[in-house]
Symmetry: C3
Subunit: 373 residues, 3 copies
Amino acid sequence: MKKSLVALAVLAAAGAASAQSSVTLFGVVDATLTIGRGELTDRTQLTDSGYNSSRLGFRGVEDLGGGLSASFWLEAGMNNDNGSGDLTSLNNQPGAANSTGGGGLTFNRRSTVSLSGGFGEVRLGRDYAPTFWNLTVFDPFGTNGVGTTLTTLGTQVGVAGVGAGVVGFNGGPTGVRTSNSLAYFLPANIGGFYGQIQGWLGENPQDTGAATEDDGRGLGARFGYAAGPLNVAVAIQQTEYAATATGGDIRTINVGGQWDFGVAKLMAHFNRDTIDVLGGEVDGNSFLVGALVPVGAGEIRASYSQYRVDAGAEPRSRKVALGYVHNLSKRTALYTTAAYVRNDGGATAAVGGSTTTANENSTGFDFGIRHSF
Amino acid sequence: MKKSLVALAVLAAAGAASAQSSVTLFGVVDATLTIGRGELTDRTQLTDSGYNSSRLGFRGVEDLGGGLSASFWLEAGMNNDNGSGDLTSLNNQPGAANSTGGGGLTFNRRSTVSLSGGFGEVRLGRDYAPTFWNLTVFDPFGTNGVGTTLTTLGTQVGVAGVGAGVVGFNGGPTGVRTSNSLAYFLPANIGGFYGQIQGWLGENPQDTGAATEDDGRGLGARFGYAAGPLNVAVAIQQTEYAATATGGDIRTINVGGQWDFGVAKLMAHFNRDTIDVLGGEVDGNSFLVGALVPVGAGEIRASYSQYRVDAGAEPRSRKVALGYVHNLSKRTALYTTAAYVRNDGGATAAVGGSTTTANENSTGFDFGIRHSF
Amino acid sequence: MKKSLVALAVLAAAGAASAQSSVTLFGVVDATLTIGRGELTDRTQLTDSGYNSSRLGFRGVEDLGGGLSASFWLEAGMNNDNGSGDLTSLNNQPGAANSTGGGGLTFNRRSTVSLSGGFGEVRLGRDYAPTFWNLTVFDPFGTNGVGTTLTTLGTQVGVAGVGAGVVGFNGGPTGVRTSNSLAYFLPANIGGFYGQIQGWLGENPQDTGAATEDDGRGLGARFGYAAGPLNVAVAIQQTEYAATATGGDIRTINVGGQWDFGVAKLMAHFNRDTIDVLGGEVDGNSFLVGALVPVGAGEIRASYSQYRVDAGAEPRSRKVALGYVHNLSKRTALYTTAAYVRNDGGATAAVGGSTTTANENSTGFDFGIRHSF
């Protein structure tokens, strides 16, 4: 999957010695036929990223000596069903101005430069948000495809089940990744403990008197412990936005963990999103329980997840997902997933591109191939 | 032209053996000074892709054992005269919504993942449309530059000679390539026969009651035979669009062939485009005859092509094109082309960026360099 | 920094010999915390390109034999703080239509194909403008970061200090790079002399009667001499634009040089921009003096630069900048820069993303890391 391109420095005309370095070119091309059936509309699509997110990336590490190293990571999401690229966020601001790229390739998935050593790693640029890690690592479906956990509903604009009065309740532009980040990661060898502290800048002009001048600025952290069959982590983050009747600061806190029993890996996570609207706050609570079961060259994946908003009629969406991945090699796999969503309290979550009326159901299926390089 | 980057797997810290894989980075940088002279306006440009389409691509093949292999192909068109990328189509829909990319790089030329074996190849993603193959393979100018065949007029929006009443008559968004494709290709070794069946999805929500809900969905096929000096193929495809007074389902059928006499390769193709407008249909008929004549390190290229719309005054455009390519190496060539277009029946086709009034002429010249890697 | 990927031709199934070729993948990932303090607004940002411009590129050379070679260069600017790409210019036209890319990656920094030999080099595509070379080569800060020379103010839209009546006075779309260029470069081995002549096309339709039909067409040249500690060059260019009360043809002429004393490299350049408005012309005069002082593994950088518009109250901006670069290796460096700008005559130039009222000051700081590959 990962591959280091042998790269020899160009020999200077004067015949100087060659310094060796390397760039790794890597990627995933994942195509899936996705079928969605909902009460309102159905849909059949050739989509991408049903198992792993499609991408093209370039990264490398330079040994600086004395235990120090510098590295970079440039990773572009792409939609191989139609050739387009993914949008990125300039400054973590809400709204359309938040999204740039126009459908061309951007390094939206990650674009960072790091300095690492015995002290850990300092990483600058665009990267995953701390709280998103727990949602994707402890989801058997890795937040991809029709089986993706419902606990990420908070990270999506227009979350199902949230009334027009709370449109901002969506995890916001920093729910999955943060631009303009300055992060510190603990070193790898501290007895199984791992962790990161990450801040990000909204970059708005200050002293303008605008209520939105701190929009997009945030702070987060994640700490965990992994040893033997166990892996657990807790994460928290907040991004500032001007308070209105329907939006404001967004906070997320979650905890996740897994235990590998050998015959199966069981995992779960619990997540709470909070938005500070004018005169109060609105919460979203969610959780997932799931399992990965190795079977020969393949793996069975299963999960139950739900998201409930603590407002109004308490709209709630629940999903069960079951899937199978068959590995043709380490790089290539065929997979299929089925997912079923139920809504109540006025929620309208749906899967596979379908839509549904309030309190009704939806079903989705993926049939795909994932090839990585 | 094609090149395999030696790629060694990163050795695991534990000293595991390295698995070898490879990615091929390839491309074309083709720049041309294009001069167009028309009755209405003239134009002088530094353009690209006068001989071969400029591009940057990444592709690779993985041997899965047992005769099976997985592969991917990501190929971005680019305009090296100004550095911009090409638009792609999300869902084969008509109109501006059909085009995404904003001028940034997209893998518009091809973005596919394949599984191949003795049974043939299953290919998913964005790829050439079946009927376009006959137009480009059996055109001495390969549908590039001022000499490009007029038979592709049907694939262009605003085709010259087609009145305002038939604006949709243009081959449509799927005239050259199709997004969201599921294709099957025959295996290579079946006695000279080759072929493909390809379907593509419009991905619109279903059960909406909208007349356009099947827009962009289509099906096509191409079958051919190549042996010794002979190569012939027939292709057909249809894409669905809601019927209006000026647009609707678009169908194309064509046949092409060539015979290599050694001293010259003669080729021809015949193409028919049909659009189902409300209460009837409009046809476009076109053909090309051409030749490639090797001369030392170079090649003379010549063609006559015409496109006629069977509606109204039967607008017709005719082109003669003559060119010479001088190969400095297998990868690098200098080339020049001259083309002359005549119109009648109200047609206004023009070449080289020039424009012309109805029934008048236009002339275009290319002087370029093509470098591939 | 530059690296040649070992690239072996795919061996044909028949066991043909392999032809060797190479593509160099190269890039810079530069991230900087930039703090700006102005009289009007302050700003703190994680930006990019504080020391060297962030980029990802592909280039290669093919030996054609007989002293002849073909080469290509595709270089995309990118903003690694947020993953977005840079805009490019289709046709050197003014206004928004001049900028394409939408935030996706484009080869805006350079996209060229060349034919080189004893006669020199013919280069086609998008490339640096001749006069910009003197501003960047003879600036200790290489026209990057808060320390960048003020003499490039003329290359920026909305130049500080230029009244609303002269909005076009900005160096224009061709101030830094030109699209659709045809350039000739002198060969390398002519006794220290170097030089280039470059023309570029606006590509507008001709014979339209529009006053703007020649917009974006231009011509420029640069000639220099480098030997031992000395390097001097003069450059001139003009791009045509329709004359209005506030805009018209833009001309730039400048001269720059440096002397390497060993303990320090001193440099200076003088630049004059002229815009032909209806009924007259407006000039902008600017200069820089600066120094680079090596200290161990690092380098101190210092400069004074100013830009003055010869119109109205003669708005003038002056900057002093001081910085230090610490090289961790040839590829990786830490750096910091401080810059202070003073305005008079109504000028409002500011640094580091801050803004200031007329005739007030501004201060900016960079703290960054530059990693190249």
